[in-house]
Amino acid sequence: MSLTARSSPSGTRIHPSATVHPTAIVEGDVEIGPDTVVGPGCMVLGTVGPVRIGAGCSLVARAVLNGPISLGDGNVLYPNTCLGFAPQDLGVDPNAAGPGCVIGHRNVFREGATVHRGKSDRPTRVGDSNYWMTNTHLGHDGTVGSNCIFASGCVLAGHVEVQDRVIIGGLTAIHQFVRLGRGSFVSGAIGLGLDLPPWFTATANNLVASINLVGLRRSGAGREAVDAVRWAFKTIYRSGATPQQAIPLLEERIAEPAIAECVAFMRATTRGICHGVGRTGRGTAAAAADE
């Protein structure tokens, strides 16, 4: 165990098996778990709120953590990753600690990734085993599930909800309060301001083009589940109905878990559901009239 010469010893608890590089700065209320490595140039700032780092984490170099924040086990943070700073919101007092961030286990944050703390009464939450590539961003009060991949440069605004197994392409932007359903896939270099239902694929701004067959198969989904997702897609985007009009049609097969998940997701939308593309339904009444 080596405590940095520059850190304030008050309130820092570093497990004997953890390694802190002599050039790292650990300050304030900080707890570092067993086998965690804090590399050169890192800053762990527990002065505004407490920082808790679990076991086996690696702060490779120059990562910056700002409390209140708790990190689970096995997370890896590359240089210039900054977790826990103030919301990007002009109305927020940047000096208020707020509810902070809660990060799960085995996440990877690549160079320049940023996560902002919550401004509501709940923390910004990230689940387990997510991969945040270079310069990705999660805004304040976001909620991210587990096993997601965020490609380089994609940005998630405040209050975004990302369920499990979502993949987002590079440079894509997600608007405030948008929800991405479980297993959905978003192409690179586009933007979404509407909700994307579970297992659907968005390939252009606010447009659903297909279902995420690869994701379904990787998740171990059986034939019935794939069939149900495909039927939901056709019902929403190929029947000539709008997504909202399609909900009663979907309830015909509500006993199937995939349909029930889709309906529950669509009912909970506040911003609306992505449109369809091509053939009969673009999700508009005009498309229905064409038919």
Partner: protein
């Protein structure tokens, strides 16, 4: 000369004419060439593999270098540039050094630019006189040749190959294994998943829209060469056929070295090439075997 006051002295060789700020950290196997300036807050990490910095490089401040990495001479790196960290690949064991990065001379990496090391036997390669603007990114196993410019925020996926003198605008994206031919231009917020042939301009996703006349003139191309490039563009995109179907008519003019160069580029294509826009052809179905015809562009009214 001033060696870093902090950090392990193991294997650090600093040329007497180099300047290292006392706030910089050098660790592991590090070689700093003559006339270099390593500014405050820089981290040069030769612990996973050796870092060699050629003559007259400037690491302005807060730059992070991770070995194995070889930088040539005269490179300039601005704060938060990070070169040489592990591939963004879930299957990669990041504790492995891998094949690293090899970077030429006189390149500029602006704030937050990132380059990842190779995961194959070959290193990630950058030539000379390239310019990487703020927050631009090159993924693992990429190859970027001399004279390329990458605009702010643009991201190049793994295995991307840019030939010489390619210009990429701001916030553009290239898919893994995408290729751009020499002298081509990618506009702001554009990008592609396929290949952009030499001297063509890509202005929206996967779409080649014109010829880079400005670039051809600046490169000193003769009128005959410009006419050949324009002819190839028309042959690929202004006839009622796919680019693949145009190859036989290109073959007929193979003795023209400009046309032969396009055939070289097309024959090395694994992901197809950009489609055209407007007029006859907006369909690249024949480029990618088995690809769905249900593309956004094909569903618009004719």
């Amino acid at each position: 000369m001033q060696a870093s006051p902090i950090g392990t002295p193991r294997g650090i060789r600093i040329h007497p004419s180099a300047t290292v700020h006392p706030g910089a950290i050098l660790d592991g196997d590090v070689d700093v060439g003559p006339g270099c300036t390593i500014g405050p807050g820089c981290l040069v990490l030769g612990t996973a593999g050796p870092v060699s910095i050629g003559a007259d490089c400037t690491l302005v401040a807060n730059v992070t270098l991770n070995g194995p990495l070889a930088l040539g001479s005269g490179n300039v790196l601005y704060p938060n540039a990070c070169l040489g960290f592990a591939p963004q690949d879930l299957g990669f064991d990041s504790s492995k050094g891998g094949s690293g990065c090899v970077i030429g001379d006189r390149n500029v990496f602006r704030e937050g630019a990132t380059v990842h090391r190779g995961k194959t036997a070959e290193p990630t390669r950058i030539g000379s006189s390239t310019h990487w603007m703020a927050n631009s990114h090159l993924g693992h196993d990429g190859e970027v040749s001399d004279g390329c410019t990458i605009g702010a925020g643009s991201v190049l996926g793994g295995h991307v190959h840019l030939e010489r003198d390619v210009t990429v605008g701001a916030m553009s994206a290239m898919h893994q294994f995408a290729r751009a031919g020499h002298g081509s231009v990618v506009a702001d917020t554009a990008g592609f998943t396929t290949g952009l042939p030499p001297w063509f301009v890509c202005t929206s996703i996967n779409a080649a829209t014109s010829v880079n006349l400005d670039g051809l003139h600046k490169a000193g191309a003769t009128d005959r060469m410009v006419a050949s490039v324009q002819w190839v563009f028309d042959a690929l995109y202004r006839e009622d056929r796919t680019p693949q179907q145009a190859i036989p008519s290109l073959e007929e003019r193979r003795e023209d070295e400009v046309v032969a160069d396009y055939l070289r580029f097309l024959s090395a294509s694994t992901r197809g090439i950009c489609h055209g826009v407007g007029r006859a052809n907006r369909d690249d179905r024949a480029n990618v075997p088995g690809a769905s015809a249900a593309r956004v562009g094909n569903t618009l009214p004719a």
